[in-house]
């Protein structure tokens, strides 16, 4: 089971998957394609799913899209439990979701606006209102002069933008996109993704996008990587970048490579803190390593005559490594001074990361024995 990571966003999750497994085939030929995947996606998040083909990411996407019946595990989409729904109920749920596919799949016989109207009609929106929305959206997508063009008269990027408009016109709270840029050149692909992200940000829509396109990874809030039917990493990208930058500036990790830092960042858990929370208590056994992401903490030492504040640490400062490295007990108490975010790495992962680095021993010596 993958450890769950949440962003600090507010509101009920758009997608909540818990221990979702899936099988293809029957009897002898039955094979498992998803293994107890757990994933939470919050409102407004743009999630990119990557992984080699056959890793199960498309299967997971179609489960979230209510295009398949859930076989095992718990899956909530837009607050509706998908597990055990009839196909008619799945159809109803799908009307709340926007889909974007690799190919634009527009009706050749219909104009751009009419293609988008197919989306509004299923929601019972009157045509004049639907037309107004479609034209406004196309205008925003830079196709205001092409609203009555048929797909044949549009370029590949323009067609995909119409397809994006078709998915967005009902302002769904969830958009599922499967390789939406694969058929596009770099510029059009970037354009389409930027527009999706921009519209998602203004409408608060969550986007799950399956892609192999590395050019667009930096647009994501979160990258979920799947291998062999399992989520092997689930990273909040902006947070991971921040952690890496912090770690790089800490002496202990200064000689780590970027990929090693990224590996550590992947393993760190974000913890929201309130004033007065005690992170470390003096004389306890060390179990965790800490990095201040946001806010400040104070360090207190009790040398027998009562507690004394000896230091205040702000964002980017790390603490708690000494007890893990030397096996000593904690030499101070650390308290939170205000609301903030602390990234926490447990001992097991900390040890593994340190051992993996060839420069470890020299650094240890420099830090703790040559002082």
């Amino acid at each position: 089971m993958t450890q769950e990571i949440r962003s600090a966003a507010n509101g009920a999750p758009i997608v909540e998957a818990r221990d979702v497994s899936h099988y293809f085939g029957d009897g002898e030929s039955r094979s498992q394609v998803l293994f107890q995947n757990t994933l939470t996606i919050d409102p407004g998040e743009m999630v990119i799913m990557t992984g080699p083909s056959g890793s199960g990411k498309t299967t997971l996407l179609t489960l979230i899209g209510a295009l398949r019946a859930v076989q095992e595990g718990q899956l909530n989409v837009l607050g509706t439990p998908v597990t055990g729904l009839t196909s008619a109920q799945l159809v109803k749920l799908r009307r709340e979701i926007g889909f974007i596919f690799q190919m634009h799949n527009l009706f050749e016989s219909l104009t751009a606006t009419e293609n988008i109207l197919m989306s509004t009609r299923i929601r019972g929106i009157p045509d004049d209102e639907g037309r107004r929305r479609a034209v406004a959206l196309l205008d925003r997508l830079g196709l205001g002069h092409r609203v009555d063009y048929k797909p044949r008269a549009l370029s590949g990027g323009q067609r995909q933008r119409v397809a994006v408009a078709r998915a967005l016109v009902n302002r769904p709270r969830l958009i599922l996109a499967d390789e939406p840029t694969a058929a596009l050149d770099k510029k059009s692909g970037q354009e389409v993704v930027n527009l999706m992200k921009e519209l998602a940000a203004t409408e608060g829509t969550s986007i799950i996008m399956v892609t192999h396109d590395h050019r667009i990874l930096d647009a994501a809030d979160r990258v979920v990587n799947m291998v062999d039917g399992r989520i092997v990493s689930n990273v909040l990208v902006q947070q991971a970048i921040a952690i890496c930058e912090f770690l790089k500036s800490i002496e202990l990790f200064s000689h780590f490579s970027v990929s090693e830092l990224g590996g550590i960042a992947d393993q760190m858990e974000a913890r929201v803190t309130r004033p007065g929370d005690v992170l470390i208590r003096q004389n306890d056994i060390g179990e965790e390593f800490f990095l201040v992401g946001r806010g400040t903490v104070s360090v207190h030492v009790d040398s027998g005559g009562g507690e004394q504040e000896v230091a205040v640490l702000g964002a980017g400062k790390a603490f708690g490594e000494r007890a893990l490295l030397t096996g000593e007990r904690r030499n101070a108490t650390v308290r939170c001074k205000d609301e903030g975010t602390i990234y926490v790495l447990d001992k097991e992962h900390f040890d593994a990361a340190i051992k993996a680095s060839p420069d470890f021993r020299t650094q240890m010596q420099r830090m703790y024995f040559n002082r």
Binding site: T62, L67, R68, V91, R94, E108
Partner: protein, 392 residues
């Protein structure tokens, strides 16, 4: 939902109209084929009752082994007619003598088939005014009146008569030492039948001279009833009076039996019906082709709509409406083409080919049914639209 699916149906059909032109033409050919088969079949049936319909009778009396007027009918004794005459409610009973024989073409001496119909000119049997005006001509020895609508082999004869001549014509008789010769004294209009090329009427004495059948051997007995007498009841009383020596039909029964003979007892009805079935099958195949090409081209788009939450019946309705549209679009030019072909065929054959409202609405109904069947057959194709296939 209907307006939405109709919008889609029309747009998709219009979009592929040019590419589907060949298939639409195929549907037209199938419809025209159906019209031609239907036209010839109905003309055949109609031509079968040309003579009976021209005859003035409320009841028909025939031999007990009589089947139809497609060949020389079997005779029955004239005494039966005297018995019928005595039945209350019967106004008059007259004899009609019928024989399918041959005439020699004056040009080639080739034999041309001909109906010989004979009656006593003092007791006329036809409703046809032209015949009744020329009854005096029939009283002459060896005289006949010829149907000017007889098939084209007779054209030289009818033209000669129209120009004032009175052509003499040989009646080839295998048993005669000297073949008899008849004189065509005048013309009338009735129309040829499917089997027999020409029609000549004469008086009963000339008939006896020509063919040698004694006049107490009657082909058809024609009964007129007094006003207000119920034909069905009269038929029963006449039949009872005859005691099984002859069969009695009301007019409607007799006409229906004549049509039925062609429809059921001859291969001709079956042949034209088979032609109709071929038209239906060809039409279904071509309509299916149109539907398939449209579904094929839009399978992925349908799958997208399914992902969006459209249900299968939405697409079923689109396909059904396309089939209806195809039916109507192809039907209109087909009717016009059939109308032209009917006129050409009627001119060429002299058969009563007519594009009746009944056959137009019948074929339209059939074509719509064909479209419905084709759209049912296309449902399997439609079920291949699967949103899961859209994912890479």
């Amino acid at each position: 939902m209907l307006s939405e699916t109709f919008f889609m149906a029309i747009r998709q059909l219009a979009h592929r109209a040019r590419g589907s032109l060949g298939m639409l033409a195929g549907v037209c050919v199938a419809i025209i084929l159906m019209f031609m088969q239907l036209g010839f079949r109905n003309a055949l049936y109609d031509s079968a009752v040309t003579i009976p319909e021209a005859v003035d009778a409320d009841l028909f009396i025939t031999s007990t082994i009589y089947e139809s007027l497609s060949a020389t009918p079997p005779w029955f004794p004239r005494t039966a007619l005297y018995q019928a005459q005595s039945v209350p409610g019967v106004a008059d009973v007259r004899s009609l003598y019928c024989y399918v024989g041959e005439l020699s073409s004056p040009r080639t001496n080739a034999k041309m088939s001909a109906w010989f119909l004979a009656f006593d000119p003092k007791r006329p049997v036809f409703r046809n005014a032209e015949i009744n005006e020329k009854l005096d001509l029939l009283k002459l020895p060896n005289s006949v009146l010829l149907d000017r609508l007889s098939r084209y082999e007779y054209e030289t004869l009818t033209r000669a008569v129209e120009q004032g001549a009175r052509p003499r014509i040989v009646v080839p008789m295998a048993s005669a030492t000297l073949s008899p010769v008849i004189t065509i004294e005048g013309l009338f209009s009735l129309g040829p039948s499917f089997f027999v090329d020409g029609l000549a009427i004469m008086n009963d004495i000339n008939f006896y001279r020509l063919i040698g059948v004694p006049l107490d051997r009657v082909s058809l007995g024609l009964v007129t009833l007094q006003p207000g007498v119920d034909p069905a009841a009269a038929r029963d009383t006449v039949a009872a009076a005859l005691g099984g020596t002859a069969k009695v039909f009301t007019r409607d029964e007799y006409l229906a039996a004549e049509r039925e003979f062609y429809a059921v007892r001859t291969p001709i009805g079956a042949i034209f019906n088979l032609g109709l079935v071929v038209g239906v099958v060809v039409g279904i195949v071509f309509i299916s082709q149109v539907l398939h090409s449209i579904i094929d081209a839009n399978l992925k788009e349908y799958a997208v709509l399914m992902a969006m939450g459209y249900e299968v019946r939405f697409f079923g309705l689109i396909v059904f409406e396309i089939s209806i549209a195809v039916s109507i679009v192809t039907f209109i030019p087909s009717v016009l083409a059939s109308y032209l072909l009917y006129s050409l065929a009627a001119d060429a054959t002299g058969l009563p080919l007519a594009l009746s409202v009944g056959s137009i609405s019948g074929v339209l109904g059939t074509v719509l049914g064909m479209g419905a069947l084709a759209s049912l057959l296309s449902m399997r194709k439609l079920s291949k639209a699967n949103p899961l296939d859209l994912f890479s």
